[in-house]
Structure formats: structure tokens, C-alpha cells
């Protein structure tokens, strides 16, 4: 199991160090890890910055062997979250997935306690809470209490008030009721004056589309996100209109799996607050016929290829983007009017050799070029099918050697978009009932379709 846990800052400095098994792991393990990590910082020449959260490095394998220390070979299992590297050092055979899931859980809990992002400054401001949390979450290198509710019952999150009063945390004297109950995710004494539950059915479309708009591969992953503020210990039953259109579901531990197997209904006692109730995929037939709701056609022109290498050359990129009327989305009955895409945004990475851009013109939205990352971000905002948008931009770049013209091929565009009240699957909730409690809560259910990793190839 985990012998030691380290959390490193974005510059490789050890922020948190905790040893669980009486053995003190030398920090040289972190140095070895960081040497490998720094080799690959900006490995892709800044291209990886096109993802939403900027990654520091991306070629360090998550499981690494560190030989030659005085304790023999150690295995470093790591993950990167909000710029921080979480390192678990294990001396012997272990389930790496368990460790990775646990590290992500630790990072989730930090977000829960300190807000998003749980980055270097969040950790530095809350050292003592971090140590207390780790103390509760790990015993002898084994995951102990990882349910947010149970932890919050033991260690209260820092609040503005407590920060003002300088007493950062309060530890409860009572054993939280959830720790060993059959419902570790819920505490018994929850009480709200206004009882409400919101259910969001979010479907994310991952796709790779070629320059002409044809879909090369696509996948849709759905999840049901709940925001639950219900008093007492309510028992909920969620039913779908057509459960056969979803496939391969996985559930929060609170869901009674056998009920779903038998009747395709989701029966559960919810945790308090925000949580993911279930995730699912859509039956392949639906995905195969997927028609994306937006399009973006790129055209790259590299100018005169006969220029000698090393010289500056000028190229030009033209993009046409818009909303299609032919999408295969299913809209909720409450949806009225034309299809409106929200938060529509196109990220355009330029070739590595680019030195500068000029003549940037858009006839819709705004566009900003990020000099350091060599990425142009085109913000289209809200859009419907009646509008067409185009962008042109010239760029000058160093002409590559003859024979390396291919190296100019720009990386893929990535698209972000969101359409409220729509889904790919057409999954609809037909009922949500509360039993075991007498009140009648406010219930809100809605669908959202949005982009996951949605890429357009330029070649």
C-alpha cells in the first residue's frame, strides 16, 4: 500500500510530505520524478495548452519505477491535478488503479474544502487542514474515510468566518454517524428549511471530425448530476421514460443496483449536496448516426513553398463555423424556438514555427491570439443556425527544411459548445418520488448536451 505521499508544486517543490508506515521515503524519489517530468514540460511546444486546464507535462507515465534507493525499487504512482503533482510511493505490489482513484479522491476533497482550483496557494493557505484530512483519509497507507460527508462531520471546512477568527478547523468529538453505517455517504441529522433537488442529465460528445465535416469517431458519455438539499433520510426513486436507450451504466454507491437490474429504476438514499448519481453510455446505434450540432471548416494555406529554409514565409488560415439544422439531437418538450448553441468556442493552435500573426478578422464573436501558447481562441458565444461566422488570419513563420514540410501540419482544432435542453440519447426522466420523509421538495430536472473532447482535423 502507500508508504508515502508527496504533493509537489508546479515547480517541483515538495508542499506536503506524509509517511504512513514508519519508513521515511527519501525526497530523492521526488527529485527523480521531477527530473523526468521537467524533461517533458512543454513537450508539445505548448500545444497541450489548448485543453481547458493547462497541463504542465504530459509524458511521464503514471506508474514509474524508481530504482537504486536504499529501500530497493520503489513504485511512484502519480497524477496531475490543478498544477499539483500527487505522488504515492509504494514499495510492493499494489493495485495501481486503487492508488490513482484514491489520489484523485484526495484532490476532489481538497476542491470540496478549499474551492476550485485546489492549487498551490489553496494548499499553502490550509496546511493544517490538509494534514488533518490526510490523517483521516489514510491509515497505515490504506484509504480510510473518503466520503466527503463523513469527513466534513469530523473536520469542518474552513469558512470565511473561521478564517477571520484564525481558528482554522474544528474537530468534532462525535463519531460521525456515517463512518460504519451501511450508508457511509449520508449523515442522519441533515435539515433544510427549503427542501429541493435538482437533476441535470449531462451528455458529453467526444468526436474526431475531419476537415470536410465527416465524423471519424465519436462517443457520447452521459452522467446524471444531482444537487440535493433534502432533510432527514429520504429515499428517492428516479424512473426513465425509455431506459433501453442507455447502456453500460455505473452508479454512485448509494444506488441499489439490483433494483436497476430488475426494473430499470434508480432507487437510492442520496448523499447530501452535489454528487454524480450515475454515468452511462448510449447504445451504439444512436452514436453511430450522430450528427454534430456545430461545424467548423478549416483551410490552411502555407504560401509559397519554394522559399529557402530558414526564411520567413506568410501563410493564411480561413475558418467557417456555424450551427447546423440537421443535428441528431433530441430536444426536451420545454425547448422552444430555434436551436441555440451556447459558449461556442474554437481553439486554433498554430504551427510551432509561427513567429507572429496579423490581419486577424472575424465577422462574428471575438478572437484573441495567445502569443506564448501559439493558440488562437475564437469566442463565438451564443449562436443559432441563422448566422454564419468566418475568421481569417495571416501568420508569418520560419520556413522549414525541404522534406519537413509535413511538420507544418497544424494540430487539430478543438471545439467547445453547450446546448441546454437537448440530449443525444433522448433520455427523459418520467418521475422522481421521495418516500420515508413527509415533505414535498421542489424538484428540477433538465437535459444538457455539450462538447467533451471535440476535435477537428485539418489535414
Amino acid at each position: 500500500m502507500i508508504q508515502s505521499l508527496f504533493i509537489l508544486s508546479p515547480t517541483g517543490e515538495v508542499l506536503i510530505e506524509r509517511h504512513f508506515r514508519g519508513v521515511v521515503t527519501s525526497r530523492s524519489v521526488c527529485d527523480t520524478f521531477w527530473d523526468r517530468a521537467s524533461e517533458s514540460i512543454n513537450h508539445h511546444g505548448g500545444v497541450s495548452a489548448i485543453s481547458d486546464h493547462e497541463e504542465l507535462y504530459d509524458s511521464v507515465p503514471p506508474v514509474m519505477e524508481v530504482p537504486g534507493s536504499d529501500q530497493g525499487t520503489l513504485y511512484v504512482i502519480s497524477c496531475l491535478r490543478d498544477g499539483l503533482s500527487y505522488l504515492a510511493v509504494c514499495p510492493a505490489e499494489v493495485s495501481p488503479l486503487l492508488i490513482l482513484e484514491f489520489l484523485h479522491r484526495v484532490a476532489d476533497i481538497f476542491v470540496d474544502y478549499f474551492g476550485f482550483p485546489a492549487d498551490e496557494s489553496a494548499i499553502k493557505d490550509n496546511f493544517s487542514t490538509v494534514y488533518q484530512l490526510l490523517e483521516e483519509m489514510v491509515d497505515y497507507g490504506w484509504p480510510l474515510t473518503t466520503e466527503p460527508n463523513a469527513l466534513k462531520a469530523m473536520i469542518r471546512p474552513p469558512t470565511v468566518m473561521s478564517k477571520l477568527l484564525q481558528s482554522t478547523t474544528v474537530v468534532s468529538d462525535e463519531l460521525p454517524s456515517g463512518t460504519v453505517s451501511n450508508m457511509p455517504w449520508r449523515t442522519a441529522d441533515v435539515s433544510y428549511s427549503q427542501n429541493e433537488i435538482y437533476v441535470d442529465i449531462v451528455e458529453e460528445v467526444d468526436a474526431i471530425v475531419d476537415a470536410s465535416g465527416a465524423v471519424i469517431s465519436s462517443d457520447v458519455s452521459g452522467s446524471i448530476q444531482c444537487q440535493c438539499q433534502l432533510s432527514g433520510v429520504p429515499d428517492l426513486l428516479l424512473t426513465f421514460k425509455d431506459p433501453t436507450i442507455i447502456d453500460d451504466w455505473s452508479f454512485h454507491p448509494c444506488v441499489r443496483y439490483s433494483r436497476y437490474e430488475e426494473d430499470s429504476v434508480v432507487s437510492f438514499v442520496p448523499p447530501d449536496g452535489n454528487f454524480e448519481l450515475m454515468s452511462y453510455r448510449i447504445v451504439p446505434e444512436k452514436v453511430r448516426s450522430l450528427n454534430p450540432p456545430v461545424f467548423c471548416h478549416p483551410k490552411w494555406n502555407y504560401g509559397d513553398r519554394s522559399t529557402t529554409s530558414g526564411d520567413m514565409r506568410t501563410g493564411r488560415v480561413t475558418l467557417h463555423a456555424g450551427v447546423t439544422t440537421l443535428s441528431s439531437l433530441v430536444f426536451s418538450p420545454s425547448h422552444k424556438g430555434p436551436v441555440v448553441v451556447e459558449d461556442f468556442c474554437v481553439n486554433i493552435p498554430f504551427p510551432r514555427q509561427t513567429r507572429s500573426t496579423s490581419n486577424l478578422r472575424v465577422d462574428f464573436g471575438t478572437a484573441v491570439y495567445n502569443e506564448a501558447a501559439k493558440v488562437l481562441r475564437w469566442n463565438l458565444g451564443k449562436m443559432d443556425a441563422s448566422k454564419k461566422a468566418s475568421l481569417t488570419c495571416s501568420f508569418s513563420f520560419v520556413s522549414p527544411k525541404v522534406g519537413e514540410e509535413e511538420a507544418l501540419d497544424p494540430p487539430h482544432l478543438s471545439l467547445n459548445w453547450k446546448i441546454p435542453l437537448a440530449s443525444v440519447s433522448g433520455l427523459t426522466v418520467s418521475g422522481l418520488s421521495v418516500t420515508r420523509e413527509s415533505y414535498h421538495p421542489y424538484k428540477g430536472v433538465r437535459n444538457i448536451a455539450k462538447s467533451g473532447i471535440f476535435q477537428v482535423r485539418c489535414s
Binding site: 488503479l97 490513482l100 497505515y140 490504506w142 468529538d173 453500460d248 476535435q455
Partner: protein, 868 residues
């Protein structure tokens, strides 16, 4: 500090809490606050949990450095362990387990055995973990007090979390001790399956992992368990999913063929959860992909229709892309090849060089795998060559060579295109591949001799692999077209046999020369003979190994694709010298006993050496420091460990072979050493393992070495000797030959007649110029290297002789010791070691006339001191 102390004694609880927090804050930044120990300890007399937790945190931290002080806290622990609040009881037991002080453990036993039977499940659950902690410190105590039996009882506990922790504790004890303490009986099995549905996600992983080690009695039982485990595939936690997959795949083996319908249904159920894992965070994807790699080899039909989910996204991390590519190649079929080729072509235009190369190589592997699609693959490769991107062309040439070998005489039409790109090639492997093609198809290339001629111009500067290929290609060319190439072949043979100092090249040169001059027809048969056709199995694992690994899904072994005992269990035995498997059962503390026992009977007569009493508890026999020198991929399915040792005045090379996947019992080998700096050569070329090594097991043997001046490569003065010894082993079962290199551990060459008179030593020491002194500092010495007596004893076993010791004047606690040693070649070495009491480090200073060997002798001393 005084202020803090006052605050700690304050009657106001808030002030106290704050003070302890300040103490802990200073502690975490490394300040010494141990003088406040009693003051802090006083604070523990409180009902306040927060304060208690803080004090306990402080105690754990100082327990290592201040064991006596920690004992003062024992009473508090014992008292807290019977507190009325279960949270305090659990906290006390948990903290006591973390204090690794021997005398504390004695007091721990009673509270622990009460806690294991506590009425509150939270306390029982905490106590279960504590048993594992205690086992790590005092395994005997745990067995004596019957804690293991109590753990077994906990498996039948009514609370699922307690069951899970009990299982986890037992599994850990089983792994670290090698004993089968985690027996699963029919009733235990039912308990585990019942707890599986209700315990936490982490507990589910522990239970599933222990289920995977269980072997069901028959197919029906297996099917029953699978049915109970299958719902776990729907869990949100990927660790639970993967462990469930492991159980199902291992048990499926037992279901037998009459159950093919059930197996088909299961196969369908396994695909979606595996695909879902690819929507997780990239780190999780990576581990999942490494495991899927195994699964698709074992049961290709599970994911045969899902190849698209393995297509790479542009911003996938590189380690994810590489793994996806591996799986794409494994899943490629005639149905999807066109789509895959489009993808691979797309990847070949990306920025990352490694990924691009792998994509290009993948296209070739598709060609080798799918005969009917080979032509399309080659068309794509040719298209890529036209881009003239340097590394793309080189990789393409390398893989086209394989395609030629797979389909001889089918695609030579493309040779012309390849020849157009000769200038691009600058990597040895690409050059060698191209030259092979030219030689093999010399008769179809009009100007083959001219092309070879251009390469020959730079013959001497080429990499050995290219030189070998050039030699062979030229000979092939000559045999096909003797008239025009007579001069060329003569020149190459001259260069290979006379001007080169590479033994491989010279040998091959001589063989060709002799063949050509004595019997050209025989030469034709040998050089131009039919070559075995290659298959696309180079990247597949051996079936036996694969079966082992399927049982190890979701573990580290499944990531490294190595059998579990090859790296993890060995390590746990705490022995850096890779010894026999039976050692795995031993605990870390018993290293000495093991070393003595393992070296077997006979050998060095310790009692006469060094002139000291060795009747006390420690006794040293030299052992060979074994290192892994060749893996199964190189050595025909055998993993090789090697090292050198001297015994009874003879030098032996110790060999340990693990039959990973050689496919049969192995016992007979022949060995040959290349010339080396020490003149070592095997006394007998035959190597026999008795009993023969069956697949999956390993064996050890030793080869006696003789000193042969003819085998010695002289090292020029002023240069350091290369400790490397190159070894060739021929497997007599299949005539396969493999090579490895091992570094000689120099101490095995010290001879028994290296002892010197004190006066002679002093004179010799003085006579050597100080400029030839070599220094090293060895820190973090193991416990047995800190006392001079122990070092003296250990060194004596290696023929490193004690001369004298004396305290260093004006430096209290420092002492120097002098040693002499002599190699079997007659070189003498003198060493001065400086120790300081209480510091576990030593300074080494070494003098010798044989300066080129000095560095080796120095590092030998260092590694003996370090005990590796």
C-alpha cells in the same frame, strides 16, 4: 519556547489547543521541539478529541528519535483504549500501532485484543489494520497472541467494513510473510460475497483481489461466484471494475468449453465497462490500457468490435497514445484495416517524433499480420516515404525490411523508391535494414554494387551493426554477380578481418573468407539459403506468461507485463542479491542467517583468516551480487541473473536462469566469454542446471573461471579498466545463442595471500605518490558496517586483510583502519577507512601502483560497506 510551555499548561482549552498546534507547526518545518515532550504529553489528559489527536501526532513523530520518552505515554494509551467514547478507543489503538518502539508493542497487545472484540464496529475495523501494523514490527508476537485467528473471525463479522479491513490485513500479512494465512473456505467465501455488496469501494477492491487468488472447486462454483461479482463491473470506481474483471477472467478458465454460451454472454458483458474506463482521467486510462493489452491477447473477441475507441485524440498524453497504438495493432483485422490505415497515416503527420515512428512501424506490423492487406499497407508506407521527413523514411525502411522477410519476392517493385532515399538514412538500424534489402535483392537492383560501394566508403566509421550488414550484403552480392564485385568483396574482407577490432566482425569475416576460398557452393547454401519466414508474434507474450498475468490484472505486474515474483516478491525479501525463491518467506531482519545458509556448505575457511574470533553471532561468507543481465525477450524466454564470487580460492561466475517462457525444460548450455580486462575465461564451457529448470521456475549454477593471460585485454596506463565482461550463451536445446554483459565485482578477485606485515604496509603506503590516492565517502551505511569490528570481519571473508587501527589524534570519536588486498593477478591495493562514532558513514582512501584498477578496488570496498 518558555512562552509556549506556559501556554501548554494553561487551563484554557483554546489556548492549549493553539499551543500544541504551534508546536506541531514548528515540528513540521523541522524545528526540534522535543524538549517540550512532557509538557505536550500532559495535554493528553483531556476529553477533547482535537487536542488528543494533535498530541498523538506529536508522539508519533518523536517516537522514533525519543523511544524512552514515548514510554511515558503508554499509560495514557492503555487508559484511552478503554475509554467510553469509541472514537477515542479507536484513536488510541490506531496511534499505538504507529509507534514503532519495541517496548510499546508489548503494551499494545492487550488493548488490541480487546479492541478486536470491541462492541463498536469502528473500533474493530481500526484494530484489524493495527494487526497488520504490528505484524510489520513483531510478527512472532502476532502469531503468539493468536491475532491471525481473530482476524479470521473478523471475516465473519456482521459489519461489512470490518470484514473488508480484516481481509486487507490478512492479505498484507500473507504477502509479506509468504505464508498462506488468507485461506478461503466455503463459509468464508459466502461471507466475502455478502460483504462485497455493502462495504466501501476500497474494501470491495481488497475483497475482489483476495477472491482472485481463490481457485473454485469446479465450473459451477466458478460460475456462481462470477454471477455475484458481475454487478461490480458497474461501479464508478475503476479499481473495483478492474479487480472484478480479473476475478471474472481468471474464473472463466474453469468454466470449461461445455459452457460456451455462458462464456459468450460474459464476454459481451465485459466490453462496455472496459470501454468506459477510457473516459476516465488519463492516468487511469494508462493503467486500464496496459491491462486491456493483456485482455485482448487472451480473449481477442471481447473488444473486437470496439477498435474505434482506441483511436487517439490529439491531446491524449503521449503515454496513452503509445498504449492505444499497441492495442490498435492487436485488434486490427481485415474488416477494419482501411479505417486503421487512415488513422495511422494521420498519426504519422503529428509532431511527436516517437509517436510518429511508432505509427509508421505499426503500418508495417499490420502488413506482416494481414496478408491480404499487405499491399495497401505498403502503398501507405510509400506515400509516407514521399514526404521525405527524415525519421519517417528511416522508420519506414526498417519496417519494410520486415515486410520483405514476411513475403519474400513479392514487393520488390518498391525497391527503386527506397533507393532514391539512401541519403536520408543516418541511423544505424535504418542503414542496416536498407543494406540488407540491397544484398538480398542484389540481382534485381541494377546498380547494387555501386550502392554498396557508397556505403563502403565510410565503412570504418559505421556502427558495428551496419558493418556486419555491409559485410554480408557484399558477400551476397558477390555470390550473385562474381565478375563485377571481386575487388569489392576482397576489400571488405580485408577491412573486416584486419583493420577491425570488433570480434564479431572479424569472426564473420573469417568465416566468409574461408567459405568463399574453399567451397563457393557451400557459401551459396549458407549465405543465400532460405531464411525462416517471420510471423507477427514478436510482440505477443508467451501463453504461459499470459495466463499468469491475467491472474495479476489490476496489479503492478500487469503494467510491467512481468510475472509477479520476478520483481515484487523478490524485493520484499529485502535481499539485494537475487537469491532463491525460498528466501521470500524470510522476514527482512534475518539477512545474515540467510546469507550464511544460502552459500551452502564448504568453501572458505573463515576461522583461519583475519585472526579474529568469529564465534559470536555473525559470520560472513562471500556471496555473488546478482544483477539482472538479460530478459526473456533477448535470451529466448530466459531471464538471466549473474554475478561473481570467490570460494575456496576459486573464482566462479554464478548464473541464475528463470525459465520465463522458453517453452520446455532447460538444463544444458554452453558458455563463452569475450576477452576482458581480467583475463577471465570459463574453465569448462559446458553449463548444466541440475535439476532441469521447468517453465515458470528458476535454477542456479556456477561456472568456474580460469585466469588466462591470452584472454586479457590490456588497459593502457592512465585509463580506467572496463569492468564489463561480455558473455555468450548457447542454449543446447534449440541452438539459440544470446549475449549479455555483466560487470565484474572486483572483490571476487582478491587472493588469500594478500596479508602484509605492518611495517611492509607502512613502507608501501608511503612509497605511493599521494596523487594516486582515490577517495570516496560512503554514507547511509547499514547497521553491520558502522562498527569497525564488524567491517573487519566482513572484509576478512573477502580476503581484505586488516593491518592496524588507531584513533585520530585531536578528533574525538574518529578512528582510521588500514587494510591490504592483492588481486589474483598480483596487484596490491592499500586502503585507509575513517569512521566516526555515531555517524553512519565512512571515508575510503585507496592507494595502488596499478592505477587503472584502483577505481574498481575502491568501488568494491564501497559496495561491500554498503552491503550490496
Amino acid at each position: 519556547m518558555h512562552e509556549l510551555r506556559m501556554e501548554l499548561h494553561s487551563t484554557d482549552r483554546a489556548v492549549k489547543v493553539d499551543a500544541v498546534k504551534k508546536v506541531i507547526a514548528s515540528m513540521t518545518v523541522g524545528k526540534d521541539v522535543s524538549m517540550l515532550f512532557t509538557d505536550v504529553l500532559n495535554c493528553v489528559q483531556t476529553g477533547n478529541i482535537e487536542l488528543k489527536k494533535l498530541v498523538y501526532l506529536y508522539l508519533i513523530n518523536y517516537s522514533k528519535t525519543q523511544p524512552e520518552l514515548t514510554l511515558l505515554a503508554v499509560n495514557t494509551f492503555v487508559k484511552d483504549a478503554s475509554d467510553s467514547n469509541p472514537l477515542i478507543r479507536a484513536l488510541a489503538v490506531r496511534t499505538m500501532g504507529c509507534i514503532r518502539v519495541d517496548r510499546i508493542t508489548e503494551y499494545l497487545c492487550d488493548p488490541l485484543s480487546r479492541a478486536l472484540r470491541d462492541e463498536d464496529p469502528y473500533v474493530r475495523k481500526t484494530a484489524a489494520v493495527c494487526v497488520a501494523k504490528l505484524y510489520d514490527i513483531a510478527p512472532d508476537l502476532v502469531e503468539e497472541r493468536g491475532f491471525i485467528e481473530i482476524l479470521h473471525d473478523l471475516i465473519s463479522d456482521s459489519n461489512p467494513s470490518v470484514v473488508a479491513n480484516g481481509v486487507a490485513a490478512l492479505s498484507e500479512i500473507a504477502e509479506s510473510s509468504g505464508k498462506d494465512v488468507m485461506r478461503i473456505t466455503a463459509s468464508v467465501l459466502q461471507k466475502l460475497l455478502a460483504a462485497l455488496n455493502e462495504c466501501t469501494e476500497w474494501g470491495q477492491v481488497f475483497i475482489l483481489d483476495s477472491l482472485a487468488k481463490y481457485t473454485p472447486a469446479d465450473g459451477r462454483e466458478a460460475e456462481g461466484i462470477i454471477e455475484r461479482v458481475t454487478p461490480r463491473l458497474q461501479h464508478a470506481n475503476s479499481a473495483v471494475v478492474m479487480s472484478a474483471v480479473k476475478v471474472i477472467l481468471s474464473y472463466m478458465e474453469l468454466m470449461g468449453s461445455q459452457n460456451s454460451d455462458a462464456i459468450r454472454a460474459l464476454t459481451r458483458k465485459l466490453a462496455p465497462p472496459l470501454v468506459t474506463l477510457l473516459n476516465s482521467e488519463p492516468e487511469i486510462q494508462y493503467v486500464a490500457l496496459r491491462n486491456i493489452n493483456l485482455i485482448v491477447q487472451k480473449r481477442p473477441n471481447i473488444l473486437e468490435n470496439e477498435i474505434k475507441v482506441f483511436f487517439c485524440k490529439y491531446n491524449d498524453p503521449i503515454y496513452v497514445k503509445m498504449e492505444k497504438l499497441e492495442i490498435i495493432i492487436k485488434l486490427v483485422s481485415e474488416k477494419n484495416i482501411d479505417q486503421v490505415l487512415l488513422e495511422l497515416k494521420e498519426y504519422a503527420t503529428e509532431v511527436d517524433v516517437d509517436f510518429v515512428r511508432k505509427a509508421v512501424s505499426a503500418i508495417g506490423r499490420c502488413a506482416v499480420k494481414l496478408e491480404r492487406a499487405a499491399e495497401r499497407c505498403i502503398a501507405v508506407l510509400l506515400e509516407l516515404i514521399q514526404t521525405k521527413v527524415n525519421y519517417v523514411v528511416q522508420e519506414a525502411v526498417i519496417v519494410i525490411k520486415d515486410v520483405f522477410r514476411r513475403y519474400p519476392n513479392r514487393y520488390e517493385s518498391i525497391i527503386a523508391t527506397l533507393c532514391d532515399n539512401l541519403d536520408t538514412l543516418d541511423e544505424p538500424l535504418a542503414k542496416a535494414s536498407m543494406i540488407w534489402i540491397i544484398g538480398e535483392y542484389a540481382e534485381r537492383i541494377d546498380n547494387a554494387d555501386e550502392l554498396l560501394e557508397t556505403f563502403l566508403e565510410t565503412f570504418e566509421e559505421e556502427d558495428p551493426a551496419v558493418q556486419l550488414q555491409l559485410l554480408t550484403a557484399t558477400v551476397k552480392c558477390f555470390l550473385k554477380n562474381p565478375e563485377d564485385t571481386q575487388d569489392m568483396v576482397q576489400r571488405v574482407l580485408d577491412m573486416a578481418t584486419e583493420e577491425s577490432d570488433n570480434p564479431d566482425l572479424r569472426d564473420r569475416g573469417f568465416i566468409y573468407w574461408r567459405l568463399l576460398s574453399t567451397d563457393p557452393d557451400a557459401a551459396k547454401i549458407v549465405v543465400l539459403g532460405d531464411k525462416p519466414v517471420i510471423e507477427d508474434d514478436t510482440f505477443k507474450l508467451e501463453p504461459a506468461l499470459l495466463n499468469i498475468l491475467i491472474g495479476q490484472i489490476a496489479t503492478l505486474s500487469s503494467i510491467y507485463h512481468k510475472p509477479p515474483d520476478s520483481f515484487v516478491v523478490r524485493r520484499r525479501a529485502g535481499l539485494p542479491t537475487e537469491e532463491d525463491d525460498e528466501d521470500d518467506e524470510e522476514d527482512d531482519d534475518d539477512e545474515y542467517d540467510e546469507e550464511v545458509r544460502d552459500s551452502g556448505a564448504g568453501g572458505v575457511d573463515l576461522l583461519d583468516m583475519g585472526g579474529m574470533s568469529v564465534n559470536d553471532h555473525k559470520q560472513f561468507t562471500p556471496t555473488a551480487p546478482m544483477t539482472r543481465v538479460a530478459g526473456p525477450e533477448k535470451a529466448g524466454g530466459i531471464e538471466v541473473f549473474s554475478g561473481f564470487v570467490q570460494e575456496g580460492g576459486k573464482i566462479f561466475m554464478e548464473l541464475e536462469f528463470s525459465n520465463v517462457s522458453a517453452g520446455q525444460d532447460i538444463s544444458t548450455f554452453a558458455i563463452q566469454l569475450n576477452k576482458n580486462a581480467f583475463g577471465l575465461s570459463p574453465a569448462n564451457q559446458q553449463v548444466i542446471f541440475q535439476p532441469p529448470i521447468s517453465p515458470g521456475s528458476s535454477g542456479t549454477t556456477r561456472v568456474e573461471m580460469a585466469m588466462n593471460p591470452a584472454m586479457q585485454v590490456p588497459t593502457p596506463n592512465g585509463q580506467n579498466v572496463n569492468p564489463q565482461i561480455q558473455v555468450a550463451i548457447k542454449n543446447m536445446h534449440n541452438n539459440g545463442v544470446f549475449y549479455f554483459a555483466v560487470n565484474l565485482n572486483f572483490e571476487c578477485l582478491f587472493s588469500a595471500d594478500g596479508e602484509m606485515e605492518k611495517t611492509a604496509f607502512i613502507e608501501a603506503w608511503k612509497s605511493i605518490d599521494d596523487r594516486h590516492e582515490l577517495y570516496a565517502t560512503v554514507s547511509d551505511l547499514p547497521a553491520d558496517s558502522t562498527s569497525i569490528e564488524d567491517v573487519q570481519q566482513k572484509f576478512a571473508a573477502y580476503n581484505i586483510f586488516f593491518i592496524a587501527r588507531r584513533p585520530v589524534p585531536n578528533a574525538e570519536g574518529q578512528e582510521v583502519v588500514y587494510f591490504s588486498m592483492k588481486s589474483v593477478h598480483g596487484m596490491t591495493f592499500f586502503a585507509e577507512l575513517t569512521f566516526k562514532r555515531g555517524v553512519n558513514a565512512a571515508k575510503v582512501c585507496l592507494k595502488t601502483e596499478a592505477t587503472s584498477y584502483g577505481g574498481l578496488a575502491k568501488s568494491a570496498l564501497e559496495s561491500l560497506l554498503r552491503g550490496d
